[in-house]
Amino acid sequence: MFGYWDALYFIYAFIIGLLISYLLMKWAEKASVGTRKEGDGSKIYISGEDQDKVIPQFEHLQGYFTGRHVMWGFIRGINKMFLTFRREHTGLLTDYVSYLLITVAIVLGAMVIWG
């Protein structure tokens, strides 16, 4: 048998992840409270999104830190990349053909030169 993994490592990684998240939350809390203990100043803007903002159809999650915070940073951070990818998906048959020709040309060129 090759390939090695141990379920315990995943549990360790999970616990460490939880610990880091907790420390981050505490740090954010401390950093955002400032001089006041109540009001907007005490909110943690992990993602730049207000955790008390009511999201339509997700009212039951109000006040919780959800996966959206992580997703927000992730997707927002590379938004330009998504836009570029989407722009290339035109749905035009001519583009599909062009990409096929380009792909075959790349493979052909590389094989003829270095193959």
């Binding site: 090759f2 096929l100 075959v104």
Partner: protein, 528 residues
């Protein structure tokens, strides 16, 4: 008795008898198609077991007992040459097809023209089976076209929507162009070496590796990258797979891009242009092809595919389109495994990568089959596949949601599910070969996680108006999903046993360090 020909005869007979059987009524037709596909699954299981037990390649000559022609010393007849890789694929194809047909009984209940639908489904199945068992490159092309034409028709099966027709027509146009490249590659090889038998072709190319053989290889790989749905030639896939009926989407995403795409690439590279054979020739300063270049080309496209495919899945609102882009992403992992298998040929790393790729082909077929069945259940019951309208489905369709959670976790690669085992092997081999490749692979998985979390978030949200009255689909749709969920769980729990007992021997037989694929033919020529 050699059961191998029945693997093709059974679905072929089933398909062509369908119009006559349909005259006896819808119920009879349904029983017939289930029996035919069940029988085909049984035959594939028998073929797989025979090869797995004996660890020997099965060679069958069409119309004769010997592929060698009378009065000549080389093979002239069409042969089918099945190793463990082909047999494993045949088993996977028949299994998922059987479940897809079972699922169709209820899913397609309200459609008309079902005799055509089942005929095309069986033709699609036999096309894929032909690809994975053949040892003749032109025969391979014929089966590839049988499979492709059935796919074009099935994508556009529901001709009451423009989505299906547009996707089908686009798929057909570009697919035919890709097929032309493949045919051109085959024609060049035949013109240069005068044979179509893959194993014999491997010997002839090794004897005299010319520029023509490089060009032919490039055309073959270029065309087959398209059929695999690799980026940037994946756009047909994200149109076609969501447009087809969900039972067919499961077959297209789970099987067609494997049999007609990544399997074919691996078979041509390891069977005809074997990297080991050419590095051996190079070691003796003899003319040889540099297959490392091809390995890196495949790795390049694999990295593009797994990042862009999974990233595009994140920004989809159409659930089936999201799954289709996810399929593109997963093809990236399989290609990465094969690419590393080529550049690290003969090495432990190459072996791990190939095992991971073979394993992931099977895992992805099962997982994506389940996910498209789930999408079908949602469309069937709710009438939409728009994620913005599916909030709160979990309460009304708990089994479907639970199945989705298991399927999504498996495709992301969470332990202890089957997707984890195969992805782990691919990560491990890429990290050992070049850590940058492992990082790229993990980035792909992060996108995959983001995409599926979004669907999960939708399913677990507050009930929207649209889902208030829905309920679980009938048993004919539930049972195939349940079977796949069980398979995913069992394959996850027994992942390393499966890896050791099945996937590793399969990868070794594909890699053929001792030229087993050629040797199986040489036995008929007085060698071996």
């Amino acid at each position: 008795m050699n059961v191998l020909p029945w693997l093709i005869i059974t679905p072929l007979f089933g398909a062509f008898s369908m119009p006559v059987i349909s005259l006896l009524g819808g119920k009879f037709r349904e029983h017939w198609v289930v029996i035919v596909s069940g029988l085909t699954l049984g035959i594939a299981a028998k073929v797989f077991y025979t090869i797995w037990k004996s660890n020997e390649i099965l060679v069958y000559t069409l119309g004769d007992t010997n592929p060698i022609g009378n009065g000549v010393k080389f093979p002239i007849r069409i042969i089918w040459e099945v190793d463990l890789f082909g047999a494993l694929l045949a088993l996977t194809i028949t299994f998922v097809s059987f479940l897809a047909i079972l699922y169709s009984l209820e899913y397609m209940k309200h459609d008309t023209g079902l005799d055509k639908y089942y005929t095309l489904t069986l033709v699609l199945e036999l096309g894929m089976l032909g690809i994975v068992i053949t040892g003749d490159i032109f025969n391979f092309y014929v089966f590839l076209e049988i499979m492709s034409i059935a796919s074009y028709a099935l994508v556009a099966f529901r001709n009451d929507t423009w989505e299906g027709i547009e996707a089908g027509v686009k798929y057909m146009f570009v697919g035919s162009l890709a097929s032309s490249f493949i045919l051109l590659g085959i024609a060049l090889l035949y013109g240069q070496y005068g044979t179509l038998t893959m194993a014999y072709l491997a010997m002839k190319i090794a004897e005299n590796p010319t520029l023509i053989s490089k060009v032919a290889l490039a055309f073959l790989v270029g065309g087959l990258l398209f059929k695999s749905g690799a980026v940037p030639v994946h756009m047909w896939l994200s149109d076609a797979h969501p447009a087809a009926p969900s039972s067919i989407s499961a077959m297209l995403s789970g099987l067609v891009i494997k049999a007609g795409g990544v399997y074919a690439i691996a078979r041509i590279i390891f069977g005809i242009f074997n990297p080991g054979l050419h590095s051996y020739l190079k070691a003796f300063d003899m003319p040889a092809l540099n297959l490392n270049t091809l390995g890196w080309i495949i790795i390049f496209f694999a990295c593009l595919t797994l990042v862009i495919g999974n990233a595009m899945a994140v920004v989809q609102n159409d659930m089936k389109r999201l799954f289709a882009f996810s399929s593109v992403g997963q093809i990236g992992y399989i290609l990465l495994g094969f690419g590393i298998g080529i550049v690290a040929y003969g090495d432990k790393i190459g072996e791990i990568a190939l095992t991971g790729a073979v394993y992931h082909i099977v895992n992805h077929a099962v997982i994506k089959g389940l996910l498209f069945f789930i999408a079908g259940a949602v469309i069937h019951q709710v009438g939409t596949k728009n994620l913005n309208e599916l909030s709160g489905l979990a309460r009304r369709m708990p089994f479907t949601t639970l199945s989705f959670i298991i399927g999504a976790a498996a495709i992301i690669g969470l332990p202890p599910l089957n997707g984890f085992a195969s992805k782990w092997l691919i990560y491990e081999s890429s990290a050992m070969y070049n850590p940058i490749l492992a990082v790229i692979a993990v980035i792909g998985t992060v996108f995959s996680l983001a995409a599926y979390t979004r669907v999960l978030f939708t399913f677990l949200g507050v009930e929207s108006e649209k889902v208030k009255m829905v309920k679980e689909p009938g048993n004919a749709m539930i049972v195939p999903m349940l079977v796949l969920v069980i398979i995913i769980l069992v394959m996850g729990i027994l992942s390393w046993q499966i890896s050791d007992k099945i996937m590793l021997p399969t990868a070794k037989m594909l890699e053929q360090l001792n030229g087993e694929y050629i040797m199986a033919l040489l036995k008929f020529m007085g060698g071996g």
